[in-house]
């Protein structure tokens, strides 16, 4: 019963504008958490996830500008959110909200109801896990827009951080903007600032690395004996052969890929205290459960 409750809570509620077939389309799609107008009130609006052209800041094919809300979820995990989504964006929003386990409402175009329902069933069927979020360093949140934008860039680069209110003794690296080490002027260029933190952390020490795409953002939860990795593809195109590196030794043979099913992980290697594997296909979302090797 508890499990069902957790699962139900981790899936957002869905709203379609009132129309002759709006509610019917959700019911037909098997979407069981339907929002009312009242549910949408007093929620924080989110950006439509995906990629966007940003001349001079991003490369259209190699490293597009990613619009993602993960940093906001990390900053305010207990807030209530709402997406107002154009057609074609519902799956990505569902994946994002589910991966970060936030209370979100999705206002969707009825045309997306069917595909959303298919993904909904996949997510609802996932075995529930309750694992702590993995982080490599901490960001002391002063509530400023500058710190928020730095979090945005850190999250987009799969630099795993924990948002704290005061420096955390659990981490070697605590980022507090406005200190001599992290001056506010540097944070004015959040991309360069994120890179500075990455260099301080070093790539070797990063718990998670993603190779083969600049538009996949991951969320990793883990305990002593197991881990769950969520992969969200913001690029709008299916990705083949994405390579993942995790610090630590893990077993795990497959991934659940939205719209595809269960796929075997490929070219798995455990060496030098790290585990690497390739995911043959990544649609909008995939989840991989791993077991630690002692």
């Amino acid at each position: 019963m508890t499990t069902l409750l957790v699962l139900a809570l981790s899936l957002p509620c869905v709203y379609v504008a009132p129309s002759a077939d709006g509610a019917a389309s959700l019911a037909a799609a098997g979407i069981t958490r339907v929002c009312t107008e009242a549910d949408l009130a007093k929620r924080e609006p989110l950006a439509t996830p995906g990629t966007a052209p940003r001349p001079g800041l991003a490369s259209p094919t190699r490293a597009p500008w990613v619009v993602a809300n993960g940093w906001r979820f990390l900053r305010q995990p207990r807030a209530k959110y709402v997406y107002d989504l154009p057609v074609g964006k519902a799956l990505l929003a569902l994946a994002e909200a589910f991966a970060y386990e936030v209370d979100a409402a999705l206002k969707i175009d009825p045309a997306d109801a069917r595909s959303l329902g298919e993904m909904w069933k996949v997510l609802a069927a996932l075995p529930s896990v309750d694992l702590p979020v993995v982080s490599d360093f901490a960001v002391v949140d002063d509530g400023s827009a500058a710190t928020g934008e730095v979090m945005n860039l850190l999250a987009r680069r799969n630099l795993l951080f924990e948002v704290v209110q005061a420096a955390s003794p659990r981490h070697r690296l605590n980022i507090r903007i406005g200190t001599p080490e992290y001056p506010r002027e540097e944070a004015a260029d959040p991309s360069a600032f994120a890179l500075k933190i990455r260099r301080q952390l070093t790539d070797d020490q990063r718990t998670l690395r993603v190779y083969g795409s600049e538009v996949v953002i991951c969320r990793l939860t883990a305990a002593a004996n197991r881990a769950r990795l969520h992969l969200i593809n913001y690029g709008g195109r299916e990705i083949e052969g994405l390579r993942i590196r995790l610090r630590g030794a893990y077993t795990g043979s497959d991934a659940r890929v939205a719209g595809v099913g269960v796929l075997a992980l490929q070219d798995r290697v455990v060496t030098g205290g790290t585990t690497e594997f390739s995911l043959p296909r990544l649609t909008t979302y995939a989840v991989i459960d791993l077991q630690s090797v002692r």
């Binding site: 799969n158 083969g212 083949e240 052969g241 390579r243 043959p280």
Partner: protein, 380 residues
């Protein structure tokens, strides 16, 4: 005197300068389980030796059309000259056996005006099958299938030749054609994906590779010949090395070319200079910067051939009053302004790194010193 000025002056005077490795080369980490062969294909059995075959009849410069029969003679004479073999077939047998699985690395980036010539590729396939290599063992390859589709070699080749690419198109979504265990890792600009993986075809299937680049200018490397074609055409995620005015191709090109098993398996270099591009490369979407060297260079040493290529490109640029490929002046640089670059041959969008050829020599890939390169000139 600043080093940039120093290099430019020496180039203008055509003086051989002592090699100085640079302090700004990034750390490159090579991961490969493959060992070199007893005689790696690069520089192979003929270091410092280049056969240059010219024919005014090879291309009709009015139409751009090549003459297959003349090209056949150029290659045949060139191969015999390179090897000293009595017959053309024997020359090819020096490199290939019927049991080999042979890759032909073409260059399709200069479509439609300057790609690896159909006539050369077809003749190479004909020579291979002539010495007993099954057509099913011959792979014409590029990185992007979309480029191969544009060029469309199939009608020019026997049925059964494999025409394959690692990725469907240049979209950075298709990694399955690359070997996750064979890669070079480097962080150039802070990009997240720091790996360039070798094509699976190269690492896991081919036993020999023939490299057929073009005579082309290149905005990031100065010129794209043997080294650039085999290196950047056999690995993923390489465009990340040059952006925002800066090129890290100086060390990257040679480092990739030197990686095993690519280095050992690339046994023959055929620089297609029937047509050329003296500016705006590696692309050739208009004929404005196309010229006709009507020349093929053969050898096993990619550095020696590319050393000559640098002079060919620079000479043609000088003939048109354009800045040298060695120009590093900030005055010539208009970062990312491809429109300006395409309109004006005195505009660079990136500071070029023709020094990548000399750097490759320091990795043992061949001979850079012009005085030590033996060129045998043939005319057909």
């Amino acid at each position: 005197m600043r080093r940039r000025s120093f290099v430019r002056l020496l180039s203008a005077a055509s003086v051989v300068r002592p090699f100085q490795n640079r302090s700004d080369t990034p750390t490159l980490r090579v991961v490969s389980k493959y060992s070199p062969s007893a005689t790696p294909g690069m520089p192979g059995p003929y270091p410092g030796r280049v056969i240059s075959i010219r024919s005014d009849r090879s291309v009709d410069t009015a139409t751009g059309a090549a003459d297959a029969a003349v090209v056949h003679d150029m290659l045949a004479q060139g191969m015999r000259a390179l090897t000293g073999a009595a017959t053309t077939a024997d020359a090819w047998r020096r490199f290939f056996a019927p049991s080999d699985i042979v890759g032909i690395k073409v260059n399709c980036g200069g479509y439609p005006h300057c790609v690896s010539a159909y006539e050369i590729v077809a003749d190479v396939v004909g020579q291979l099958t002539g010495i007993g290599v099954p057509v099913s063992h011959i792979y014409v390859y590029e990185r992007f299938q979309s480029q191969l589709d544009e060029v469309n070699y199939a009608p020019h080749l026997p049925g059964g030749v494999q025409i394959v690419a690692a990725e469907r198109e240049n979209r950075n979504v298709d990694n399955s054609g690359y070997d996750p265990a064979t890669y070079l890792e480097a962080d150039f600009f802070g990009e997240e994906d720091t790996r360039s993986n070798m094509m699976r075809l190269v690492s896991r299937l081919l036993t020999k590779i023939i490299n057929i680049p073009n005579v082309k200018d290149h905005g990031a490397t100065g010129a794209t010949g043997c080294l650039k074609n085999i290196a950047y055409g056999s690995f993923s995620n390489v465009a990340r090395t040059h952006q925002r005015g800066t090129s890290y191709t100086y060390s990257m090109v040679g480092a990739l070319a030197a990686m095993e098993p690519l280095r050992s398996r690339t046994v023959l270099q055929i620089l297609d200079g029937l047509r050329g591009v003296w500016h705006g490369g590696p692309f050739a979407r208009t004929t404005r910067y196309v010229f006709y060297p009507r020349q093929i260079m053969l050898g096993t040493d990619p550095v020696a051939i590319d050393r000559l290529l640098l002079d060919i490109i620079d000479k043609e640029r000088r003939a048109h009053g354009a800045i040298s490929i060695w120009d590093r002046s900030p005055d010539s640089l208009r970062v990312d302004d491809t429109r300006a670059r395409d309109a004006d041959p005195n505009v660079n969008i990136i500071i070029r790194e023709p020094g990548h050829v000399e750097y490759a020599a320091t990795l043992g890939l061949g001979v850079y010193d012009r005085a030590r390169i033996q060129v045998q000139e043939l005319t057909v």
